[in-house]
Structure formats: structure tokens, C-alpha cells
Symmetry: C2
Subunit: 150 residues, 2 copies
């Protein structure tokens, strides 16, 4: 699933991604990066609304799992269980969210459990960047259920 | 600040609130409740996208602090520092987010610090409800800085 296909999937199925004008910049086995402009995500302080920052970070994290599972040929359904978000700096312009899995071992364990037990948990990180600096960081806990497709 | 005034403020200053079709249902000293419909917040599973759920919960939490500070006549600027979100149940229709402060003592301490030191921290809870059940829960940590207005 390349950048264009993921972007189309998001716009077709998650209308908020379109309202936030999210653009898929990079789809890779190790990371997914999406970008969003300030205007549709602005708040009363003319910086990015925390809810937009969180939503874009969650979208990147989900997209990483979704594309990696598709590449692995595993049919499964993803459910977010929880997330923690830290807002480090105000974001006063276009920003990106880059999602990745901290420990590659976690991915192998996740796939093993999903294949054997039909259910597995994994934690995904998503870093927000603005103007060359880290502006925020999300950690999301997801559950995958085998045998159904997203 | 009543329901209508808060709603207008959100629509004027945070365009995502309009994209999510957030409706302010209740503004009270003890709580603020907002509602949102499924359609603009839907995901590929035809339930509410986690990013929308988080954003609506954050909006309710911020609104509670904003309206309470205005009622107290304290000019300040609010910044979200972090939040934790738990997704308990899938949301397959219209939902609400009700924000409140767990301990009333926390509010008194917050106001005392803000007045004395010009800076104070507070934690706000926001519960998502769908179909009569708790579907999620957010805890957000905010900082208020005196002498500037939101």
C-alpha cells in the first residue's frame, strides 16, 4: 500500500482525515509519516488545537499497523485501546506525525501472537514535528483481531 | 458563558469543532457536556474514529476550564500539557463528552495558585457516553497562565 493508496483509503473511510487535510508523505515498513496544515486545525491561540494534534498522531499510528499488516498478508481488525499524548511545544504552522514501533522485537512478538492466538497487542509511537523540532509525542496501545479485515 | 456563546466561540476559533459537528449541550460550574454525531466522525469500521473521540473529549475538558475561569473573572491562557485516553467500547452512533473536575479541592488550589503565582496546573476528566454506557475516558493536564486571555 503506497502513499496514494493510503491517502485515498483514509479520505474514503475516515472523513476527519479530509477535514484535517491530512496528507500521506511516506509509507515504509519502518514508519508512516503524515502531514497536516495549520488552517483546518487551528485553535483560538492560532496554534494547532490539541485535539487535532492527537487525532493526526493516532491516524499515523493506526496507518503504520494497517499498512504493515497488509504487507504481511495478515487479515485482521485493529482496535485502539488507549493512548497517552504529551504536548511539548505549540505548533504554529504545518506539522507532521511520524509513527514507528520502538522495538522491532515487539513487532515479531505481535505477529507471532496474532498468528497463533488470533489476538495480539502492540504499542506504537507517533512523534509530532514542527519547524524541525519535536512538538509532541503519542504512545498508542492497539489490539489486532485476526480473521476480519479493516 | 452559556451554551450558545460557548458553541459560537468554538465554531469561530476551532474549526475542527465545526467539522466534527460538536454541539454544546450543557454549561454548568460543575460540568460541560458536548455532543457529536457519528457521520463526520466515522471510521472504516462505521464506529467513531479514536482521534475524533479524543478531540471531542479534549474540547469538553478545555471548555470546562475556559468557562469556569471566565465566570471567576480570571484572565488567563490555557495550555494542554498531556492527556491519557482509554477507549472502553466502540461508539456506533451519536455520543457525548462530559467534562468535570474530580476533586473540588483541586479547583480551589488551582485558583489560589493562579492568583498568587500567575501559573497553575489542573487535571480535568472527560467521560464519553454512547447509548447510556461509558465508552471512553480522558484525563487531561492543563496549565493556566494569568494575565493573558484566551
Amino acid at each position: 500500500m503506497n502513499e496514494q493508496a493510503l491517502q485515498q483509503y483514509l479520505y474514503d473511510h475516515i472523513p476527519l482525515s479530509k477535514a484535517m487535510q491530512v496528507e500521506v508523505k511516506r509509507v515504509h515498513a519502518d514508519e508512516v509519516t503524515v502531514a497536516a496544515p495549520l488552517a483546518p486545525n487551528i485553535n483560538h491561540r492560532e496554534t494547532v488545537f490539541g485535539g487535532s494534534a492527537s487525532a493526526v498522531a493516532i491516524l499515523a499510528a493506526w496507518s503504520l499497523l494497517h499498512t504493515r499488516l497488509r504487507s504481511a498478508g495478515i487479515e485482521s481488525r485493529l482496535v485502539i485501546q488507549s493512548n497517552t499524548m504529551h504536548y511539548d511545544l505549540p505548533i504554529a504552522g504545518d506539522f507532521t506525525a511520524r509513527a514507528f514501533i520502538e522495538q522491532e522485537d515487539d513487532w515479531r512478538h505481535f505477529i507471532r501472537m496474532l498468528t497463533r492466538k488470533g489476538k495480539a497487542r502492540i504499542s506504537v509511537s507517533s512523534v509530532l514535528e514542527y519547524n524541525g523540532a519535536q512538538a509532541g509525542r503519542l504512545t498508542g496501545e492497539f489490539v489486532a483481531l485476526a480473521g476480519a479485515t479493516d
